[in-house]
Amino acid sequence: MSQEPVVADYMDKEFVTLSPELSINKAMGVLMKKKLIAALVVDEKGLPVGLLAENDCLKVLLNQAYYNQEPEDTVKNYMQKAPEAIPSTTTLLEVANIFLKNRFRRLPVMDSGKLVGQITRRDLLRAMHRQLFFKK
């Protein structure tokens, strides 16, 4: 009997996160240097509290350009609401459904209140592609 593929098999267990207390300039630097579109913002307890994405950075940079102001504040002033976490037992099909219904490109994966990974829309598409074309 073949098992339904689940998020646990395809999620990223090591991934870049940002602290809400990090200066926004440093945070933007991290995203640019690592060539990331976005990153989960995780507090000192290890819980996802927000998301910082390219559009958020764009807003900060435009303000800087228009008003010549160095932003002094931190990630928590600019981050978006974190996407809702899913358990690692969620099936790929269920995750696909979530991505199709929302504009998020990444989701935190949490088991028993602990952040165990992240899954991006790209990872999901690759996973489905592999499942459809390479698994018998």
């Binding site: 933007m28 640019m32 579109i37 390219e54 559009n55 950075c57 764009l58 807003k59 940079l61 435009l62 800087q64 350009a65 790929l92 099909l93 696909a96 459904n97 991505f99 199709l100 504009r103 829309r121 790209r122 999901l124 598409l125 690759r126 489905m128 592609h129 499942q131 459809l132 074309f133």
Partner: protein, 133 residues
């Protein structure tokens, strides 16, 4: 600041091949062109996911076998001319969800610009660096 060399798919490229290439190049989408290189649409991950979802639901890879990029690309898309000011382009990205726009001059596809390109360019601008094309 726009990309002059960028990934393009011809409209009859099989979807399966397009997804493989996007995965390999770590890209989120691409412009779709006809045989003469004229822009026809924009392909993005989300549209690919829609079809993969259906195939997955039916547990049927056959569903994707005959699909090409033209079956799922967005045929309505925003474009910008290469002369558009950095900040005007930024505003468009701020107000929309899409990540890329074909750059057209007199109807000819001359490049593509992504949100990332704009973020990079504005960052250079605020640092007082010159933005090279």
């Amino acid at each position: 600041m726009m990309q002059k060399t960028f990934l393009k798919f011809e409209s009859d490229t099989p979807l399966k091949e397009a997804v493989t290439i996007l995965g390999r190049k770590r890209l989120f989408g691409a412009c779709v062109v006809d045989r003469e290189g004229a822009i026809l649409g924009v392909l993005s991950e989300k549209e690919c996911l829609k079809l993969y979802y259906e195939a997955f639901k039916e547990k049927n890879a056959e569903y994707l076998e005959n699909k090409t990029v033209s079956d799922i690309m967005r045929a309505e898309f925003k474009t910008v001319p290469s002369t558009m000011n950095l900040f005007d382009v930024a505003q468009i990205f701020l107000n929309n969800e899409f990540r890329r726009m074909p750059v057209l001059d007199s109807g000819k596809l001359v490049g593509q610009i992504t949100r990332r390109d704009i973020v990079w360019a504005i960052q250079k601008y605020v640092r007082g660096e010159t933005i090279q094309d």
